[in-house]
């Protein structure tokens, strides 16, 4: 997928329009891109004149605009009724040029800063200027992934900023909805194989005029959503944010002057572009980087899954090149074909994943905007899951493929930081974010649908000089917040028996990943709660460690216990389960009577009801460095804090520890630890073989077609799709040129 604008509008660009210098918006967009192409500078700006002439004046405008979007987001959160926005902060507000390039953005789900760009440009390309027309006070809404979005829960709104008859910019705002009216309730619908079934879709519609949202738009939401209050108030919140910023921009234009404003917003973007390239040269090393991630999905035999969806492994290969100019190109060549399941990614989703990664790793302060976008390039093979080219494709669980992919990008950028000496910036952050969603009858006796978005604060991958972040990170929103237990108990028919650190969850390493947590829910006051899980990887690790660290565990399993004797145990004041306990004999199976099961993969089971128990596990990332080089004192601390078990301390970290009951803390036997670690190195020498020797055996295995069905299907899919990747694969293993697996 190239980022070049593909124009489909038939409108004559030479007619007088509402854009800069009387151009139509389409002509302005084309002109802007031509300037970039011809000069290499955004909007053809070769000198930052305003900055040079009066730095403080220029910076004061930037600060004022940035303050406007941050303030508007904070205010709008108070209008929303959804804990997704109010508690977790699933929203973002940004200001754009007339051509749809971001100038400043708020904190929040920055993944959507560029999806909004694409939305505005989608309307420009299709000449919305002529029909349905663009006027002061209009608001355009969208959650159609193939207009520009990640998936339908992300409802975006944009409004134009007019100065007189000239459109001088746009304001955009996005909120993630907890219920979007899909087949089972919630937002990230994991059962649908096509676009249909993802929920209510709004495709680039004008929903407001004169700053008033149309009544029929709300009627549509009220008739198509199980719990429309979230959508309705989120819509009002986002529109209020847009209007708020628009008015503040117009005030700024009055103060600074129109010509100054128009020049400054473009200098701000050009400055962002230059800063990005300078940082690349300052922080990284040019060259070629490679990585791969995988995500697995179980559908076959699952009640409620589409019969079109098969079990599959998504191959997410990624190559990053940094050239001598500091220009970064990332290439997903080797990605498989689009799928009959909701783990495809529309182009906007890939844009969003790339943008939010850049803002966390390279462009984290200063002029954070689309400037970095013009100093990078992303290639997504047409027809693949990351560029389906088919509007009918399902993308509602796109994050399940995005996060492994952009987690790879984080790791590759981190490798360049390591090479350059900036180890404090090494961060294996992003991992999948499993979500509990669903619907049924809630504790108020009403039909409902909704998500529990507490996944917004998982464990992160490790860092290059310290452990990862415990229960406090998510890739798509650096401003992570899991929300209070009480707020989720208020909107869903559940009571928490536990939300505790999941022992032994961090990917192991010299620096471990952040600990993540599990949630143990008692289903409460409902005869019918159809819980479904989504956005995680079945059967395969979806992340990697670095420099000898292990990946974080796969979290795609759930514990469920039905027909429990919980009420009786509570009445007798007996101990209840709160944590996982022994993973081979979990507390939920021993501390309460009932029909206990471990469910592998997506949870698509018969509905739960009051008194049933459901335990869910969140992801965390990979560790950094050889685990046997971890400071034994750090292991001891983790033992005291319940993050690690003695078993893992010994088997993975090779630390001899015991619990000192008198001192009420763990103690490490340093001499025994040194012995264990020395033995570990000897053991490694005995059990390992030279890689080339192992490769020769593997080649024989491949020639025998001795792999699992899903693995062979994954390779065959790519063989028939990516010539370059297939050639490299066959060359690596010295296989015949026409080799394919027999399934």
């Amino acid at each position: 997928m190239e980022k070049a604008i593909q124009t489909t509008a038939e409108a004559a660009p030479e007619r007088r329009g509402c854009g800069p210098e009387g151009r139509t918006l389409l002509a302005a967009l084309r002109h802007d891109r031509e300037l970039l192409e011809q000069t290499g500078h955004y909007h053809g700006i070769s000198d930052l004149r305003l900055k040079a002439e009066n730095y403080l004046h220029y910076e004061s405008l930037h600060a004022r605009l940035r303050s406007a979007v941050v303030n508007a987001r904070e205010t709008s959160k108070k209008i929303s009724a959804s804990p997704g926005v109010r508690e977790v902060g699933e929203s973002v507000v940004a200001l754009y040029t007339p051509e749809g390039d971001s100038v400043v953005l708020s904190t929040g789900i920055m993944v959507h800063v560029h999806t909004l760009s694409r939305f505005i440009q989608w309307m420009i390309e299709r000449d919305y200027e002529s029909d349905p027309g663009i006027a002061h006070g209009d608001v355009f809404a969208n959650n159609d992934p193939f207009v520009s979005d990640v998936h339908p829960p992300d409802l975006m709104n944009v409004t134009p900023i007019f100065h007189g008859r000239e459109l001088i910019g746009w304001v955009g705002a996005v909120a993630h909805e907890l219920e979007i009216g899909g087949v089972y309730g919630g937002a990230n619908q994991t059962t649908t194989a096509e676009r249909f079934g993802q929920g209510m879709i709004v495709s680039a519609e004008k929903v407001a005029a004169n700053d008033v949202i149309r009544r029929d738009f709300f009627v549509r939401a009220e008739m198509n959503l199980r719990t429309p209050v979230y959508f309705v108030l989120d819509e009002k919140a986002m529109v209020s944010a847009c209007i708020d910023v628009r008015e503040k921009v117009l005030e700024a234009v009055e103060q600074y002057g129109l010509d100054y404003y128009k020049r400054a917003i473009r200098e701000i973007i050009e400055e962002g572009r230059r800063a990005h390239l300078q940082r690349m040269k300052m922080l990284t090393v040019p060259g070629r980087y490679r990585s791969v991630a995988h995500a697995g999905h179980l559908f076959e035999g699952k009640v409620g899954a589409s019969p079109l969806s098969r079990n599959c492994i998504v191959q997410v290969p990624l190559e990053m090149t940094i050239d001598r100019g500091g220009f970064m190109t990332i290439d997903y060549e080797g990605a498989g074909r689009k799928m009959w399941n909701p783990y495809n990614c529309p182009p906007a989703a890939m844009d969003g994943g790339f943008f939010v990664t850049l803002t966390q790793f390279i462009d984290f302060d200063g002029k954070v905007n689309d400037g970095c976008w013009f100093a990078t390039r992303m290639i997504c093979p047409p027809g693949s899951w990351c560029n389906p080219g088919d509007d009918m494709t399902a993308t509602s669980s796109a994050w399940g493929s995005l996060m492994p992919g952009f987690g790879s990008l984080q790791r590759m950028i981190s490798r360049s930081f390591l090479a350059r000496g900036f180890r404090e910036e090494v961060f294996l952050g992003q991992v999948n974010t499993p979500i509990i969603e669903g619907g049924g009858i809630n504790q108020y006796g009403q039909r409902f649908g909704g998500q529990n978005l507490e996944c917004s604060s998982e464990g992160s991958g490790a860092r290059g000089i310290m452990d990862g972040i415990d229960c406090g990170y998510v890739g798509w929103n650096p401003e992570s917040d899991m929300g209070n237990v009480e707020i989720w108990e208020m909107i869903l028919p559940i009571l928490y028996l536990g939300r505790r650190i999941w022992r032994d969850s961090p990917g192991a390493g010299k620096y471990r990943a952040g600990a993540t947590y599990s949630t143990l829910l008692m289903i409460h006051k409902t005869p019918l709660y159809n819980i479904v899980s989504t956005i995680h990887s079945d059967k395969v690790f979806d992340n990697q460690g670095m420099c000898g660290g292990y990946p974080g565990p796969t979290a795609k399993f759930e514990y469920v216990s039905r027909d429990t004797d919980l009420a009786e145990r509570i009445a007798r004041r007996e101990p209840l389960p709160h944590v996982e306990g022994d993973p081979r004999r979990p507390d939920i199976s021993t501390r309460v009577g009932g029909d206990f099961r471990v469910v592998d993969g997506v949870f698509l089971e018969r509905p739960l009801r009051s008194g049933d128990l459901f335990q869910f596990f969140y992801n965390t990332g990979g560790g950094y460095g050889d685990p046997i080089e971890r400071d034994p004192e750090a292991v001891r601390r983790d033992l005291d804090n319940g993050i690690q078990s003695i078993e893992i301390a010994e088997s993975v970290y090779r630390v001899a520890a015991r619990f000192d009951a008198a001192a009420k803390r763990h103690a490490v036997d340093e001499q025994a630890t040194r012995k264990l670690r020395a033995e570990c190195r000897e053991e490694r020498g005995r059990r390992a073989v030279p890689t080339r020797q192992w490769m020769a055996r593997q080649r024989e295995r491949l020639l025998r077609h001795d792999l699992g069905r899903e693995v062979k299907e994954m390779y065959n899919d790519v063989f028939g799709f990516s010539e370059r990747w297939s050639r490299e694969y066959r060359e690596f293993w010295s296989l015949p040129d026409d080799f394919v697996f027999t399934v």
Partner: protein, 161 residues
């Protein structure tokens, strides 16, 4: 532009600097001499004399050995030219069954060995675990990084290679 003494950089990369000192370093503009000081610190630590050109892992470096540029472990083991994947000259242990995976991931949290395996690459010299790959069986050994050394030194550092 920020600048830090060598001792501070040493403690920083060793993870020994207090968070109160680390955080401002992360938030501030980066120090221009970092790479130079970083190489000095690393060079002082290794027991061999070859010049380090670029670190590529916790234990691995691209070094100048005569006219060649090779990957070398801090223990002294040499893997070969940096333009070829050092993993092919390493030792490998593959966790591809329930028992071996259970040592790291007890219970349900492990991958299905039919769908994925863990490859642990060790240094043949010191047996340090240098990288772990989590990949589908049959996936080629990943070549993580091939730097553009000439471009890096000549164009970015403005120094001879």
């Amino acid at each position: 532009m920020a600048s830090y003494p060598k001792d501070v950089i040493r403690d920083l990369i060793d993870g020994k600097l207090p968070w109160q000192t680390t955080k401002p370093i992360m938030s501030d503009f980066k120090d221009e001499r970092r790479f130079e000081i970083y190489l000095e610190i690393l060079q002082e630590r290794v027991p061999w004399k070859e010049r380090i050109l670029l670190p590529v892992g916790e234990h691995l470096y691209i070094v100048e050995k005569g006219a060649a540029r090779i990957v070398k472990c801090d223990c002294g083991h040499e893997f070969g030219p940096y333009t070829e994947n050092w993993k092919l000259e390493a030792l490998v242990y593959v966790r591809d069954d329930e028992r071996s995976l259970d040592e790291i991931y007890p219970g349900a949290r492990k991958c299905d060995p039919g769908w994925m395996e863990l490859r642990e690459y060790y240094c043949p010299g010191c047996k340090a675990q240098l990288e772990v790959e989590a990949v589908t069986p049959g996936y080629p050994v990943v070549f993580d990084f091939v730097p553009d050394l000439e471009g890096f030194y000549r164009d970015w550092l403005k120094k001879p290679l």
